[in-house]
């Protein structure tokens, strides 16, 4: 029997103005990206808070991927810069908790970057696959079981 391959579940917060369109474009161009990502469209990555990332991990995500506009290209001027700072803060907090910070990553793309976005997603899936499942899911049961 073949050993079961771990398929990470990754939440991808994609900005409406760039990454979400890029993902759409990737689809139209028939570029494949792994089905491990669950895309959540956000009006701007600046809308994202530490809370969202932490809750995603608590609810069983193996990785969280944030895709915002290229720096300097944010529709709301600096939403992606704010997001970058929050992602960095949350990465530190994840380490405090005991979760590998590599499970949370932010990238910047434009609306025309279907291929690069797909590649970044593939890279993220591979990183998380190497890390294995979210350790919180493995350690005993809690009231909050994985909802993904």
């Amino acid at each position: 029997m073949k050993p079961e391959v771990f398929e990470p579940k990754i939440i991808a917060f994609c900005c409406h103005y760039c990454a979400y369109s890029s993902a759409d474009l990737a689809g139209s161009m028939r570029i494949q990206y792994p089905p491990n990502v669950r895309i959540i469209r956000t009006p701007c990555t600046g809308r994202l808070e530490t809370e969202y990332f932490i809750k995603a991990f608590e609810n069983g995500a193996d990785g969280v991927f944030i895709a915002g506009c290229l720096e300097g290209g944010c529709h709301f001027v600096e939403g992606n810069i704010c997001a970058k700072r929050r992602v960095n803060y949350t990465r530190e907090m994840l380490e405090e908790i005991g979760i590998e910070k590599e499970r949370l990553r932010m990238v910047n793309v434009s609306a025309a970057m279907g291929r690069p976005l797909a590649d970044l997603i593939i890279e993220m899936v591979e990183t998380v696959r190497k890390l294995g499942p979210n350790p919180v899911k493995l350690n005993g049961s809690s009231k909050k079981e994985s909802r993904l």
Partner: protein
Amino acid sequence: MIVAERKKIQDLLEIVKSHKKLLVLGCGTCVTVCLAGGQREVSIIASALRMAAKLKGQQLEVEELTIERQCDNVFIEQAAEAIQRNDAVLSLACGAGVQAIAERYPSKPVYAGLDTSFIGILEERGIWTEKCAACGQCVLHLYGGICPVTRCAKHMLNGPCSGSREDRCEVDPNRQCAWQLIYKRLKEIGQLDRLKKIKPPKNWSRSQSGGYRTILREDHRV
């Protein structure tokens, strides 16, 4: 406002390790504004604690609640039931709020989740600065509204010291010399003559000497 910052998750876990049911209690006033202990931080810290506990094999159930003000009995009432049904409280209020809860529930362990730092203001987004040390006898009127007790590294009442260099403090060149600011401000408002008078030592008996301070207002007693 009172400014505080959160303790590290592992330190918090160590503090609460003997308990199985924990209430993380936020405060809706100062610590909400300084982004340390409001509803959002309660939610983040509670989740972080649940995950960190699990990873350490510690059994921990965490309930979340935020009340308007922890330093006020009227509001503490709203947390009564949640406090009763948990083994301990991790308060995300300032030190005064934590102690108010502890006094009100003498048989319940109550812990501080934050390090209360100072009385200050939001200088710019994400930067808070200390402005007042609550010395008990305010002398701001003599110094153009800039507090030498808090903002001069040497707390000089008759400054500047000889280390002031091009408006920088000699103790930390990243900081402005408080006395330069005082001079500029007094000049601006035409009160430079205030500096001609040597100030006598401050009456520190009104600060933290002889234990905690109280204020009694007979007109408000019942």
